[in-house]
Symmetry: C2
Subunit: 197 residues, 2 copies
Amino acid sequence: MSTDPTEAQFMKMLTFMKQPKQVLEIGMFTGYGAMAIAEALPADGKITSLDIDPYLKTWVEDVSKDFPEGAKHEIVVGPALDSLQTIEGKYDLVFIDANKAEYKAYVETLMERDLLAKDVMIIADNTLYVGYPMLSETYDTQPARRGFGDAVREFNAWVRDHPKLEQVIVPIRDGVSMIRLKCLSTSRPPLVKAAVA
Amino acid sequence: MSTDPTEAQFMKMLTFMKQPKQVLEIGMFTGYGAMAIAEALPADGKITSLDIDPYLKTWVEDVSKDFPEGAKHEIVVGPALDSLQTIEGKYDLVFIDANKAEYKAYVETLMERDLLAKDVMIIADNTLYVGYPMLSETYDTQPARRGFGDAVREFNAWVRDHPKLEQVIVPIRDGVSMIRLKCLSTSRPPLVKAAVA
Ligand SMILES: C[S@@+](CC[C@H](N)C(=O)[O-])C[C@H]1O[C@@H](n2cnc3c(N)ncnc32)[C@H](O)[C@@H]1O
Ligand SMILES: C[S@@+](CC[C@H](N)C(=O)[O-])C[C@H]1O[C@@H](n2cnc3c(N)ncnc32)[C@H](O)[C@@H]1O
């Protein structure tokens, strides 16, 4: 499913603030999020989207080829965990929005392969996942979603407990996590503690 | 009232992304938001807080003086609209959180006095104001808030319609607006339109 206008505009604002040279999107769909980001990129900024569906690459390229944003956008087709083994670079901004069961593996792979810039901002979508991560399965109106719900809960807890990561989950649409690599200059705990799920 | 941990952590993430040299906070209270921002500032970053209450300056300075963040923080006492006439500089990040009836005047003064960096990000707090801007006064459980509710509605519409401003209102706590100066390089409308109140 496509992201919504508020979240797309939020991503655009973050991109304006960050001024990233290299952006990675994992899970593109029709490119709505990718174009919101592309519109806010600096002149020398690029965005790479990974998607499993080859038709989407053809379709998005066809729609965006007449706009300057199209020239800043590269699309890599294949399962994201495979593509993450082949892409190169240091990403300043990462938008995770593909298979909800693989979020942890995406971040692990990005860290293992050293694809993250030191001051990277990772945005992970759907981290409130319609409330499933916080609810007992007694309340599952769509039991098929339970697997993703559990995976998202594990992902959120894994990020929270990871010694190198820091996050905040903001209640935009279905939940948006902002995740960064910790690099506090002092060894004392921060004055203002992290608010996490 | 102080901001909450989620919003403070959100401000901290934005500050990490923006890496501002000069931050302005309008309305400080006990300095919770100011310290969240100060923790994320680059080595040469500074934050200036404006507050009407002289006791808060003494109190916050006393608490923060033993931390490195204290050295990055300057507090100016007085009505914000007066202080905005005397401060100098170009602010990269502005956090507006003082008198809800004066938000429009704060932004107008910042623009008139040319205090905003070209790529400034302005964060305005309480722009959903407990729902008052969107509700008829029939539903006012606290009629004393109606004045601020109307002022916030006018502020949101003024930003939306301002030819030089662009915003998104994100539903964090009591509503947080992210506002920037428009600078699209082309004259065509953006591919991804702004989502506004
Ligand atoms: C929620 S949509 C992405 C929405 C998009 N980020 C936006 O801003 O509108 C999820 C996308 O992830 C893709 N996807 C799902 N599983 C994948 C996988 N294992 N590898 C790569 N892409 C995958 C789907 O084809 C779909 O296009
Ligand atoms: C909501 S609190 C600020 C909370 C703070 N930003 C934080 O992050 O915790 C509002 C503050 O604005 C101050 N204030 C109210 N009206 C003001 C005015 N006209 N000029 C300057 N400060 C004002 C109050 O004294 C109060 O400390």
